[in-house]
Symmetry: C5
Subunit: 299 residues, 5 copies
């Protein structure tokens, strides 16, 4: 349905690209699906297509009703004491598990060691069926690398249509969202920030919330060129309302974007914004496992 309404170029842009702060307030990336009322019923996830071929990465990253499962890990120190051969074999074992589940989930990995006290890496798993993400993560935890990893945070969200800055409700800002796209070098950093709003926010009228999100969106348009983002809705699925996810190559610009988001009235409704803020470098799974498997120190 979405694919018939929006040019493919826009779809990809939406799926990954836009440095829109608006997501923080409950919007979503794929607002072009304006015909789908945000508060209306959504087809159950389990009714989404169950692919038998490997998941189409570009498609799942732009589809609605997709689950995003963020799991954050800290390696136990005992891992470093394992025989070098075990640690050398770790990456291959993890890759084999990912290969096994490739028709149900896609997996992204990020190295956080040196940036965050409570984690060494995190995984972002996308799936049309959340149970498939669980099955994958259970298998992952049964690998040598996974079995020495403690989960320190785990948040589950779902992608949904834009709520506020739609063509219908806020035409100019909506156009602004599509007037620019990411043009910096490929992002090397990703940041995951949970967001929870208080009861006062949720009790505003839709019009009041729309107005706050407009004020929130305007100063962020300038960052479309150097910060990508994606939003997941999590109310009732985890102890957060939103999972905001960013990619950038320019952490100074990202810092300025987040300050701009702090400087709008919507910020007064936050009861959680971070806690944790998880900053990592974007890496292949292979590279994350190897970076944490260290030098051969036991031989």
């Amino acid at each position: 349905m979405i694919s018939t309404l929006v040019p493919r170029r826009h779809r990809l842009q939406l799926g990954f690209v836009a440095a829109m702060s608006l997501a923080l307030a409950g919007t979503a990336l794929a607002q072009q699906g304006g015909g789908m009322p945000a508060s209306g019923p959504m087809p159950p996830a389990s009714m989404s297509a169950t692919p038998t071929a490997p998941i189409d990465r570009a498609k799942i990253l732009t589809d609605l009703g997709v689950f995003g499962d963020f799991s954050v890990y800290k390696l136990r120190p005992e891992y470093a004491m394992l025989p070098a051969a075990d640690r050398k074999a770790a990456a291959a074992e993890v890759l084999a598990v990912i290969e096994k589940h490739k028709d149900k989930v896609i997996v992204d990995a990020y190295l956080t060691r040196g940036f965050d006290a409570k984690s060494d890496y995190f995984l972002r798993v996308h799936a049309y069926d959340l149970a498939a993400a669980q099955t994958f993560l259970t298998d992952f935890r049964a690998t040598k690398f996974g079995s020495y990893s403690d989960v320190t945070e785990n948040l589950v969200g779902i992608t949904k249509a834009l709520n506020y800055i739609t063509k219908q409700k806020s035409e100019t800002l909506n156009a602004g969202l599509f007037a620019a796209s990411y043009s910096d070098p490929a992002p090397r950093y990703a940041i995951m920030i949970p967001v929870k709003k208080n009861a006062e926010w949720w009790n505003l009228t839709p019009e009041q919330r729309l107005k706050e999100i407009e004020v929130h969106t305007a100063p962020t348009l300038q960052y479309l060129v150097n910060v990508k983002r994606k939003l997941y809705h999590a109310t009732g699925l985890s102890d957060t309302d939103f999972i905001t996810y960013f990619e950038t190559n320019d952490l100074g610009a990202f810092n300025n974007l987040l300050i701009a988001l702090a400087q709008v009235p919507e910020n007064k409704y936050h009861v959680r914004w971070g806690n944790p803020t998880v900053l990592g470098t974007i890496q292949s799974v292979d590279s994350v496992v190897k970076a944490l498997s260290g030098a051969d120190r036991s031989m």
Copy 2:
């Protein structure tokens, strides 16, 4: 008493079925027992029938004065290092303990690994006598699987008659609660969310609280068809006022239901709503233990 007032069809519906948000505000499922004043005395749990045969699952899930004991567990990593034979025998040992206690408790199991940082699974135990739940759980902890499980949350509640949306106090809404029932495919997911209200809530007059619960209930009727729920009262038994329990096959609808519950004034009285929100897949005990007992990695 209840059984003489309400048709059996309704009783079952109430015991498990209704996607009523109203429970969040201190109501209960079995409101048909309208003749029993909510604030009046309740027969002590220990005076309930002590069955000598296996517990009747349908009955205990609809009876009032029943204890629900939710215990949430995280497996210690050492479990994965046990000999495969030990892990293979784990499920049978747990099932034997459940069999031993089947005339005192019923036990439901949920796999949370991959969804929640602080747990791998949780158990829901129902008993007419809370001490019987303790005896079962103590025996469970003495199994190999239980002895490698750390309890990360444990909440105890009791089922009670509806407080607010009774036929007497709120006839239309009460009728709405019985106008629809769950019609989706069998639920695959369960969510346990503790709820605690502040002193301002408890100091409202009964009429004010009734009004808030009516506002809370109206937008939730539409979810009767795809979200089941059950309520336990816990003030003084645990550090929460309520334990809300949901089952669904449609997590998108569930997310929308919880947003609807966030958007009513009653939400302003919450001091705890989640913390933790525990999301799991509904599975047999056997299947939960096996999923966490992993591949044979030690042989």
Copy 3:
């Protein structure tokens, strides 16, 4: 002194029996000692009689100026892996330590496993001299069972004369407190709930606090028959103002009592009410140690 003013029947009642919610606001059980001004000096604990014979249980449970030391424990999992012989000998070793200190302390034990995530059991120790409680608990921790127990909460309080609902200040309510006594079957459950008030409470005038406590007391009189309670003052001794302790056989009635206490304005002054709420079954020390020492699994 107290014993000359109050009939023995009342003293016992007060020492243990009354389901008075009023304690939550800084009252004490033994209000018959009305001649002793609540805010005046109290004889130092060390000047209390130092008995050379075993402590008189009935007396110490009604005396004023007595220390109550609540220590809450979680067994480390390694305990379950000890040889069965060690675990079988554990109870006797603990009982021997209690016997050794019987002229200085009395010890009550409660099994919490299955009810509380952060504990498996707790001890309540009464002593005229707090240092004697420390000596006992240090010896207890040196036993095999104690050495595998981690302390997860430890609160120290002291018994004092009633502050508010005295015969002088509030005659009718005072009479109500003595108009009924516990008549249910022997309590099987105990609950320990710490209570801390905010600065606004402590800055009310004595008259204002008296009024709040009267409002608090009235709805609780009906529970005198099925919930016993006892109060300890802890300001400055631990991070709480009060330790409230309850015994009951009827957890439904107890739940209703605690809801009644939530529904009075005094509740607005609480900054801690629980955290933890510790619910346990009342058992002998012997039985608690044995329940947690499990089946012989190592042979």
Copy 4:
């Protein structure tokens, strides 16, 4: 300087003796040094005399510009499993370290086991040069006993001249502070309570703060006879503004003093008062180590 202004009798009294609640609001014990403006510059600690002989205990306990380093410890359970010979030798090893540093630090020890969930003992170290306290504590942690001790709290403060209740600013109350001195039996208990004030407090004018401290001081004079105290300033050195330290033989009187301090408006400005409240028995280092080294259980 101080010694020329104040009779020696008063100096000692001030160094240790007074049960003044006023310290909680930023005053200090040695207010007789009225000529030294409280907010003015203080000679750097490193410029204080560096004694080559053992520290003079009476002097360092009354001097200004002295550092107090409070470190709170919990023994790991593995300590109890060490060979008895190791544990028997532990006290001597610790005493040797104290002897080695006796020209730089003085060390007081307190047994908290049985009173506090998060500690077994704590140390109070005084030094003219804070780095010397670090060197001592590093050596202490390298002993067998220290190496099995986990630090659960560590606060650093500095002694300063009185801020408020000086002869100049509040003559009558100042006189009251010196009108009585501790006359009870030697204290057997010590209590360490961190205190942090909010921004509203610090933004009051000096006159407003003086008035609050006067109200705070008046009801505390009566406890000069049975509670000693000492104050350390910690803003910026630790996550607290003050470390308040008390000694008493009468915990009932101490409880009443702390309630009196709760009942003044100044209490409304507290954001931390306790957390932890650490209560211990005053013992020699030798006795603390031996009490925690337990019976010979491994032979």
Copy 5:
């Protein structure tokens, strides 16, 4: 760019020297770069020069757009049980890793044992490219010393131009900042304090914030002579807005400075100020590792 606008003498001063409290409110040290609008775009960090020679310490400490990565560690007790030879070799291994990365990062070390419950030491790493700091820290964690170190806090910030007290906006105070410089003996102590502002602060107008920072700055000028400081911006990179870093030889003066900063209205906007406050002695890496590697106790 900066180097062409500001005399070298001023640059060095700014990089390290000034005891300016203003940093707490979002200013930065290098305000002489007044021509660079504070809220304007900043060149991406990755576009900064990538030196092939060892990092120029004086330059990186004064440059803008530099990342500061603060990682705080606690040694696991098992480290003390390693063979003495391992511990003796630890410092050299760490120094070799620093040498390997010397063209990408500079590393400062601080001993915190004895001052802070949650750490034994911390590292401050500066890098033009944050990924280089991660690579270094990952290698550090792979050393013997690093592998026995648990990270208890990790904050990442970036240096930016002054926001408020510029020559243009606040000429007199700006001049005051350069009217004095550090003149005490070389600092022996460093303090790291995270600062987070609330939504009200960020929603003030720039003029309002300027005014608050002026009030904040005035009383701090007197401490330029004895407290050095440096500011890092961290919004979105870590769960804090700022990392403030201080060096001093006079902890009494530092305590007074922090009290002065508590006494201005800006303090009312803090939601985090400390938590943790990490106080350490400034030492070489070699000396920190050796101090924590202790005496030869295993031989």
